[in-house]
């Protein structure tokens, strides 16, 4: 009996496990998932928790329930991989051997990486919404907040779901308007990048929306620390942004086990160097990497993990059969962007093609509009929750092709 071992039972690990369990001979291969948490969290739903749209309880289910019956689940923290011994060590010292390993341990916010963020203000006047605790605490704070300076702050340029903080700012605009206090709230978006977005067409479109909604953008701001006493962000070049309420996307880092195993990238964000086309680890032949744990130059998003799962499954099967890794990932990402007031926009892109305007064909719900705010797009975003639990995680095919398609995209057009 040989062992396929998957570290992490989040979006990517669950999809990979379910798909590969169906493909591998149950008499020849066991499939095991290790996750430190018993519950699976629908992370895209976190965006709606601060505004009271989704209750926190709605976002979690037992991890066991989303894995097929033939898969073993170990609930334990992984401390280290020993890639040269083909085994991992759990935090309690227990070894688990593998023949093929898939690293799917994702990325998580690390507020402690920014001095002062994790201090006395944390969960009082400074919050994240990337965790259930943060999103829930922020909901409670927003419920009684009667206005002032709201600052949405990105601590780093690489983090999961790059559109989420923008969506947060748009939804906040809508939320305060509905509460009748929008004129008492100043919303500022502080980013280390040179703008709200950097790819030309999406950048122009989203920058325009920021203007329209009266959200100020402070670009090229790389924070050195949060001055908790003065409630002020301080950049390395000594610029300052004061706030009354801070909503941060803290530095995101891959799992500590990646660093502890010497498998991380040199910049110490703990992302695993991964071949951008085959999804195999650049350093170890029988190790594959999927989802937010990779260092690939595409978005860290559930949709990306979904497209990767198709390619990864094929290549793991090729590797087991002793064949060349023929399947190639193109960096495909497809993300809805909530823009407030019951509307959303949609972007679809890959390694080589920036997000373009146009139509996006989708059976049943579609067609969606790319780089344009519509109600149908918003319904698409809400429908994603059902799709996530019932189609995506089980690894069933979705009506979106793995490879990005140019169908409906307009190269020459300015965004609408």
């Amino acid at each position: 009996m040989q062992t396929l071992l998957i570290l992490g039972g989040g979006t990517a690990g669950t999809m990979a496990a379910n798909k590969l369990r169906r493909e591998l001979d149950p008499d020849a291969w066991s499939v095991t998932v290790i996750d430190k948490s018993e519950t699976h969290l629908y992370q895209p739903g976190l965006l709606f928790v601060p505004f009271g749209v989704y209750e926190p309880e709605r976002l979690t289910r037992p991890g066991r329930d989303v894995l097929d019956g033939g898969i073993e689940l170990i609930v334990a923290e992984v401390a280290e991989v020993e890639p040269n011994k083909d085994r991992v060590l759990l935090a309690d010292g227990r070894p688990v051997a593998y023949d093929v390993l898939i690293v799917a341990t994702g990325t998580a916010p690390r507020p402690a990486e920014t001095p002062g963020l994790d201090g006395p203000l944390w969960y009082r006047d400074a919050f994240d919404f990337y965790t259930l605790e943060g999103a829930t605490a922020l909901r409670d704070r927003l419920a009684t907040w009667d206005g002032g300076r709201l600052v949405v702050f990105l601590a780093e340029s690489v983090f999961k779901c790059p559109v989420a903080p923008l969506e947060f700012a748009f939804l906040a605009d809508s939320f305060f308007e509905a509460r009748g206090i929008r004129d008492r709230v100043e919303i500022t978006y502080v980013t280390p990048l040179s703008g709200a977005f950097t790819k030309p067409k999406a950048g122009a479109f989203l920058g325009g929306l920021m203007d329209e909604k009266g959200i100020a953008v402070v670009p090229d701001f790389y924070a050195e620390r949060v001055d908790a006493e003065r409630k002020t962000l301080v950049a390395y070049d000594e610029r300052e942004v004061p706030f009354d309420l801070l909503v941060a996307v803290p530095v995101n880092m891959g799992a500590d086990l990646v660093g502890a195993s010497g498998m991380g990238d040199a910049d110490d964000l703990n992302y695993v160097p991964t071949d951008r086309h085959t999804l195999r680890s650049r350093d170890h032949d029988n190790v594959f990497v999927i989802g937010d744990a990779t260092n690939l130059p595409t978005s860290k998003a559930g949709s990306v993990a979904h497209f990767e799962a198709e390619i990864l499954t094929e290549n793991v099967l090729h590797w087991i059969a002793g064949e060349p890794l023929a399947a190639e990932f193109d960096g495909h990402a497809n993300c809805f962007i909530e823009t407030g007031h019951g509307k959303a926009a949609l972007i679809d892109f890959n390694y080589d093609t920036e997000p373009l305007p146009g139509d996006f064909p989708l059976p049943v719900l579609g067609p969606m509009r790319l780089l344009k705010e519509t109600r149908t797009n918003h319904l698409g975003k809400l429908a994603f929750e059902w799709i996530y639990w019932h189609r995506l995680l089980s690894g069933k095919p979705l009506p979106v092709s793995t490879e990005m398609s140019m169908l409906g995209k307009r190269l020459d057009a300015a965004p609408a």
Binding site: E156, S157, V158, P162, V163, P192, L193, S194, F197, T198, K199, A202, P219, D220, Y222, E224, Y236, D237, V251, D265, A266, D267, D268, L269, N295, P297, T298, S299, K300, A333, C335, I347, F349, P355
Partner: protein, 104 residues
């Protein structure tokens, strides 16, 4: 009197924001000219940073301010001192490599 420089920046292939489209066209002399254009007089420390950026670029490693800070070449504070404004985008332009971008 205008001093004639050895390199005419207008003959280089650059994108709309002045970044070289072919990183292999770069030479230290070109760097000196682009830097001057940005109001920076290059020192050895600047050149050391530029070389680090180019090495990482050709390895295919995405560049971040944090990574430069962990390089051992300069601290983030020093990096800001050497390339005022947005240090990563300014230094990337002088290093002849593409403008740092988000994934979207």
């Amino acid at each position: 009197m205008q001093i004639q420089s050895a390199i005419d920046l207008t003959t280089l292939d650059v994108d709309s924001e002045g970044y070289l489209t072919d990183a292999t066209q770069w030479t230290p002399e070109i760097a000196r000219e682009i830097a001057r254009d940005a109001g920076i007089e290059l020192t050895d420390k600047h050149v050391e940073v530029l070389q680090f950026l180019r090495e990482r670029h050709f390895e295919g490693t995405p560049l971040t301010i944090r990574r430069v800070g962990k390089s051992g070449v300069v601290t983030i504070k020093e990096f800001y001192g050497l390339f005022p404004g947005g240090p990563l985008k300014v230094s990337s332009r002088i290093a002849g490599i593409p403008k740092p971008a988000s994934c979207v």
